[in-house]
């Protein structure tokens, strides 16, 4: 009863502080913020490095990426799943937290759950924790991403049965094998969505002698990229700057070319899965072989990703429902059921 009364005043948040997107789940409301993790900073003229003001955060700032004049800088403060720019991350978190609680008269001071890559170091975890504290959190809990994915995908994490998850995010790919509410094996691979974009940029420069930006590369990836060599061929026309002549020109890319471009990062993801399976105790291995692997994150949306992984690993592959929000939903569920779910949180050493 007391809990229910106090619950009225609670404004707890679960945050998927991702390299590409930040999602915020508010208790009892669901995911109410999904914005790119981008901050645009304006430097005042002659003011030196200290004279900075935040120009835009999120969607608006993402549109400025690669299109800024000299005094504006569009920054992605997260890199490889961890904080690359501490101050900017704090500013971004503050902005997002204020945005989801704009009706509050008082300064919000919520409990916050943030997910971290399982391979992040103690220093990186502390940075994330302190960023959230600096943004006004009363208490900060960290949860490892594979655990969040498993909870978000409704897997029986607490049961004595093995579950395998793969989360292909923006900056990192996480492989985790879980049983009895804990992680049996986990690994982080700094190869993910951003790596695919870079691979596409490099491929276009090498093969077509043309420079394209990250935004274009991402558009290409979302439109035609396929993870499987036997997928249907699709094509897209893009424009960029020719290296030799320095003029804008257009080329047509096929999905087969893109497959070729991203095959290296794809291979390393497959290798990571194989390595995880090799390390798995036989009983859990049997469970996983029987049920399969759940894939979440933006990478799961790539065409025929499941077919490719099935073929290479020999496991049934299940794409989670709504894979982009799976981590945030898992964090949210961990928040809602903090008392019953047990110790699923990551602890500092």
């Amino acid at each position: 009863m007391l809990k229910r009364v106090l619950g009225i005043f609670s404004n707890d948040l679960a945050i998927d502080l991702g390299t590409a997107n930040t999602l915020i789940y508010v208790r009892d409301k669901g995911i109410i913020l999904n914005e790119p993790s981008v901050v645009a900073i304006r430097h005042a003229y002659g003011g030196g490095m200290n004279n900075k003001t935040v120009l835009a955060v999120g969607q608006e700032a993402k549109r400025m990426l690669g299109r800024t004049p000299g005094n504006i800088q569009a920054i992605r403060p997260m890199k490889d799943g961890v904080i690359a720019d501490f101050t900017i991350t704090e500013v971004m978190l503050k902005y997002f937290i204020r945005k989801v609680q704009e009706n509050r008269f008082l300064r919000p001071s919520p409990r916050i759950i943030i997910c971290v890559p399982c391979g992040s170091t103690q220093v990186e975890r502390r940075a994330i924790r302190e960023s959230a504290s600096g943004a006004g959190a009363r208490e900060v809990y960290l949860i490892e991403e594979p655990m969040a994915v498993a909870i978000g995908a409704n897997l029986p994490v607490a049961d004595p049965t093995g579950s395998m998850v793969l989360d292909i995010g923006g900056g990192t790919t996480e492989v985790g094998i879980l049983s009895l509410g804990g992680m049996v094996y986990s690994a982080t691979l700094r190869v993910a969505g951003d790596t695919f974009d870079e691979a596409i940029i490099n491929y276009v420069r090498r093969q077509h002698g043309m420079l394209i930006g990250e935004a274009t590369a991402e558009r290409v990836k979302k439109a035609i990229a396929s993870a499987w060599s036997k997928s249907d061929i699709r094509e897209i026309e893009i424009k960029g700057r020719g290296i030799a002549e320095g003029m804008s020109r257009a080329i047509t890319l096929s999905s087969h070319e893109i497959y070729e471009a991203i095959s290296d990062p794809l291979d390393s993801i497959v290798q990571a899965i194989k390595q995880a399976l090799e390390q798995t105790p036989p009983e859990l291995s049997a469970d996983i072989g029987d049920k399969g692997m759940v894939v979440a994150g933006g990478g799961a949306l790539m065409r025929d990703m499941d077919r490719r992984l099935t073929e290479d690993t020999g496991l049934p592959v299940v794409i989670a429902d709504d894979p982009l929000t799976c981590v945030a939903r898992g964090c949210g569920k961990a928040l809602e059921e903090m008392d019953t779910l047990g110790d699923v949180f990551a602890h500092d050493a």
């Binding site: 007391l2 106090l6 005043f9 609670s10 669901g30 009363r138 208490e139 909870i151 978000g152 995908a153 409704n154 897997l155 029986p156 994490v157 607490a158 049961d159 509410g181 029987d290 049920k291 399969g292 759940v294 499941d306 099935t310 020999g314 496991l315 049934p316 592959v317 299940v318 794409i319 989670a320 429902d321 709504d322 929000t325 939903r329 949210g332 569920k333 809602e336 059921e337 008392d339 019953t340 779910l341 047990g342």
Partner: protein
């Protein structure tokens, strides 16, 4: 289990598979599932399958393999984070109250608020009281911390000190008729007196006249009338502070003690002094704003 209003996907999947001339084994091989799992999917029997997350994934893959729209075989996804199988986890540890818990915080905040309120309340009740060495012990009830209005009746405050009492007790041996008159005043010294100036001066004149009639007066009286705010300090023969206070305009203060008195007035031009009922000229003693002088026992009553 799938909702009842959704068409059972097993039959549609089987039909599509047969149309493509694929056997169950082919599908099982492609999806890396067992033939029994494919059979269960086609029979819409999910009891032996690992859970809805997996079943949805299998159906989606199967539909894609046999090239039918996955929306036809899947009920729409509704994220429902509250109802999860994870609720059944064994949780043996009782949660302990930590300082960070919300209710612990709320209780401590309310205790702090109550304490602060009590302190403010106590302070408010204390504000009206004067603490000047315990010398000034009388004050009319309606005078607490307020300046009297200029047109209002001036109040007389009588200061009686223990040194005076002792002095009076010692010195009044030869004049026993003074003691009964001064003793009641001494005992009433702590009681508020709202009497006007005339009444009080009339009241105090009689002992003074007795004193002057006597060869050597034991005590003397100073009456100070303040036209403006001023600091006043008066010490008697025993160096006891009879008055040590900043006084507001309109106040009339009378002080009794053993002469000689050492008097210091901060704003001398705004003060008129009566010594033993007679006006006393302060101008010869004024240096700048203040005046400092000594009142001897039997002189200067001009």
């Amino acid at each position: 289990m799938l909702a009842a209003n959704v068409p059972r996907p097993g039959a549609a999947l089987r039909k599509a598979r047969e149309k493509l001339a694929l056997s169950m084994e082919d599908v099982a091989h492609e999806l890396r599932l067992s033939v029994s799992q494919i059979k269960a999917l086609e029979a819409d029997n999910y009891t032996d399958l690992p859970g809805m997350t997996y079943v949805r994934g299998y159906l989606r893959s199967y539909a894609r393999l046999v090239k039918i729209d996955e929306d036809l075989v899947l009920p729409p996804f509704q994220p429902d984070p509250v109802s999860s199988p994870a609720r059944t986890i064994a949780q043996p540890i009782r949660r302990q109250a930590k300082s960070g818990d919300r209710w612990v915080r709320m209780i401590s905040y309310s205790v702090v608020v109550v304490l602060v309120a009590l302190v403010v309340l106590w302070w408010q009740t204390q504000v009206g009281l004067d603490f000047n060495d315990g010398l000034f012990t009388q004050k009319s009830g309606d005078d607490a911390g307020q300046d009297p209005s200029p047109g209002g009746a001036p109040r007389v405050e009588t200061v009686v000190t223990s040194s005076f009492k002792q002095a009076a007790g010692e010195a009044s041996g030869p004049a026993p008729d003074i003691v009964p008159r001064s003793e009641p005043e001494a005992s009433e010294g702590h009681v508020d007196s709202s009497a006007n100036q005339q009444a009080t001066s009339a009241k105090i004149k009689s002992p003074l006249r007795v004193d002057t009639d006597q060869a050597q007066p034991a005590t003397a009286m100073i009456v100070l009338t303040f036209k403006d705010a001023s600091w006043a300090e008066i010490r008697d023969a025993t160096n006891k502070r009879l008055l040590h206070q900043s006084l507001n305009p309109g106040r009339v203060v009378s002080v009794e003690g053993v002469p000689p008195f050492r008097v210091f007035l901060g704003n001398a031009s705004a003060v008129s002094l009566e010594y033993n009922g007679k006006p006393f000229d302060l101008t010869p003693y004024q240096t700048g704003l203040y005046a400092r002088f000594v009142l001897k026992g039997h002189e200067q009553a001009q």
